[in-house]
């Protein structure tokens, strides 16, 4: 993420004019783990760091680590709710938000987060994730049922056309909920969710996909039988690499096992970690599915009266 000198300057001014050094350092440590201002500035530990120097150093470190948008989200939160019950008004906040928007981010007021704006293109890491670092993510996996039979039965051109339409449908649904398509391999793929209620976003995307596929089969699908898919959602830590092949992740491995072994055709299954995060309304759509003595999954399927 490229940071303009003006944005860095606004951050520096906002900090120095809005709070004391200890609070600045505490906020910086919330986005840069183990942040030590004395170590960064080189001031001896027995000398208080001047506000301006502390603010300048923090702004510089935030820019270098690519965390300015995360820090700005924190500033917005502090401005709205204060710190430990004490109100803190952050100066220059509108200018900072505007500068980030110029850089291609959109501020989602309801969630208090920045995400990439569509006009500048969407990247796999939302323009925020750093290669090699591990993040807590939710994943939605989709796979076509009986791909081999379809490839044998229909012409290559027709199969490619249908799979392209499936991909377009899937990525559209995922990106509408701020998810990103991390991988697509012919007849299926994996989408990642990082922002907001990421488990809920992944689950709703999966449910919507089943419904959209139902409509696609009625209106557009050129095959003689409806196209069927299996879907699964799982959440957990995963390293980020733009090149999906480089990712080694137990979370993704488990997701694949769940989808291929436990998801029925035209169904979505979610793991208990995802289910517990979904809230009562969504819970009522899912049926518990005992897959082994100790393991439960939860299944959603569209049925008709």
């Amino acid at each position: 993420m490229k940071i303009s000198p003006r944005l860095q300057s606004y951050i520096s001014q906002a900090l120095s004019q809005s709070m004391e050094v200890t609070l600045m350092e505490r906020l910086a440590a919330r986005v840069i783990g183990g942040y030590d201002l004395y170590e960064r500035t080189g001031f001896p530990a027995n000398i208080p760091i001047p506000q301006v120097d502390a603010a300048r150093q923090i702004a510089e470190d935030l820019a270098r680590s690519g965390n300015i948008h995360r820090f700005t989200e924190l500033l917005v939160e502090v401005d709205r709710t204060g710190v430990m019950g004490r109100p803190v008004s952050i100066r220059l906040l509108p200018q900072i938000v505007k500068e980030l928007e110029v850089l291609g981010y959109r501020f989602k007021e309801d969630q208090g987060i920045f995400i990439e704006a569509g006009a500048r293109g969407k990247t796999k890491g939302w323009g925020v994730l750093i290669e090699g670092q591990i993040y807590e993510l939710s994943f939605l996996r989709i796979d076509t049922v009986d791909n081999t039979a379809l490839v044998r039965k229909y012409s290559k051109r027709l199969v490619v056309q249908v799979y392209n339409e499936l991909r377009r449908l899937f990525s559209g649904i995922v990106e509408n909920r701020d998810g990103r398509l991390w991988q697509w391999e012919g007849d299926g793929g994996v989408a990642a969710f990082y922002y907001g209620n990421k488990n809920i976003q992944a689950v709703l995307s999966g449910m919507e996909m089943l419904l959209e596929l139902f409509m696609y089969n009625r209106f557009q699908c050129p095959f003689s039988k409806p196209l069927q898919v299996r879907l699964a959602v799982h959440t957990g830590p995963c390293p980020f690499y733009v090149n999906f092949e480089r990712i080694r992740s137990d979370t993704l491995r488990r997701l694949e096992v769940i989808e291929s072994e436990f998801a029925e055709n035209d169904s979505l299954v979610v793991t208990p970690g995802v289910f517990s995060d979904m809230g009562n309304k969504l819970h009522s759509f899912f049926k518990p599915l005992r897959v082994s003595r100790h393991n439960l999954l939860y299944q959603y399927k569209l049925r008709w009266e």
Partner: protein, 338 residues
């Protein structure tokens, strides 16, 4: 309903003794077999087809039957004076509604046989007959004043035929008590915006809105009915709105009704409009349609996307019209439907 007889025999019209009859048969045509594919493709109205297989090679009969079976707006009978069909019962299992051999032709098929055929068809293909009745009524109803496929030719002050949609929340009497006036007002306004945004994708325009629901108009060109797909999707995707968009804390229930009707179109003072269609859709929505359901008149199904027909079942008669109801999607695993 139309009747279309494919035969090379010039004596067939005389033998079949079929004719137009008001309210039942709009048109009867006898055509050669060479027109079979083209006419079948072009047939949009509910049609009873007869295929004379006397001059068709036995090996190609199955292909003709496959084509007849494919079209949902077609019922068919087979004319087989030469006795080529060995397994007649199989024909009926596959969807035929009549079979005429030499004997039946010699005794004169006629209108009384047609009545028997339609009685039989009512049991096995009820949606076809509902559509057929609608089609026949449509030819007798007030003429369409087509508003077109878009809004471009609709001028305020004129009278037009529209696809008219009624949407209203259920249990409206208890809502104010349950949510409080301020919360209710916010939730209702969000519901209205949702409906407005949803119908817009299908060319629909919110025309009237009362606190808990309103009337949406879609331009109508007598060729398609995107409003049917719109209503279908509204019901299918409702639960996603409940979770993501709704400001109501619990699951919503609403009724949707769709009909085709004429009305004067104005943009202001819609409360003063006098229109039978408008009255009728309010009656249908408020007196007939059960909570949580989507009902359509049979005329709508005639123009809507044919693949959606299987999802509608007969719901009864209201003010002289056959009403069909959309089967409800079941999303919640522990409920029958919602």
């Amino acid at each position: 309903m139309n009747i279309l007889v494919f035969s090379r025999s010039k004596k067939m019209p005389e033998k079949m003794k079929l004719r137009r009859r008001k309210g039942v048969v709009d048109d009867v045509r006898f055509v050669g077999l060479e027109e079979f594919s083209a006419l079948l493709k072009a047939t949009a109205k509910p049609t009873l087809c007869y295929l004379d297989i006397a001059s068709i090679e036995e090996s190609t009969i199955a292909g003709y039957l496959r084509n007849l079976n494919k079209k949902e707006n077609i019922l068919y009978g087979i004319i087989d004076p030469g006795g080529k069909i060995k397994d007649v019962a199989r024909l009926f299992h596959d969807g035929a509604v009549d079979y005429l051999n030499r004997q039946s032709l010699d005794s004169g098929a006629g209108m009384s046989r047609l009545k028997t055929v339609l009685n039989y068809a009512q049991g096995v293909h009820p949606t076809f007959l509902a559509a057929a009745v609608a089609s026949t009524e449509a030819t007798r109803r007030a003429p369409y004043i087509l508003s077109g496929s878009t809004w471009s030719s609709v001028v305020p002050g004129g009278e037009y035929t529209f696809s008219m949609m009624f949407v209203e929340l259920d249990e409206k009497d208890q809502m104010e008590k349950r949510y409080g006036p301020q919360n209710l007002s916010i939730a209702l306004s969000s519901f209205r915006s949702y409906i407005e945004g949803f119908v817009k994708k299908f060319g629909g325009r919110m025309w009237m809105w009362f606190s808990f629901g309103g009337i949406v108009l879609f331009p109508f060109d007598a060729k398609t009915c995107p409003a049917l797909t719109c209503g279908f999707r509204l019901m299918l995707f409702k639960h996603l709105y409940d979770i993501e968009g709704s400001h109501f804390p619990n699951f919503l229930s609403f009724r949707v009704v769709l009909q085709i009707g004429n009305t004067p179109y104005t943009e202001q003072n819609t409360g003063h409009i006098v229109s039978d269609s408008l009255n009728s859709i309010f009656h249908l929505g408020q007196q007939f349609t059960q909570p949580g359901n989507f009902c359509v008149t049979e005329e709508v199904l005639q123009f809507g996307h044919s693949t959606l027909r299987d999802f509608f079942v007969a719901a009864g008669t209201f003010e002289g019209r056959q009403i069909l109801r959309m089967r409800r999607p079941i999303h919640q695993y522990n409920r029958k439907s919602f």
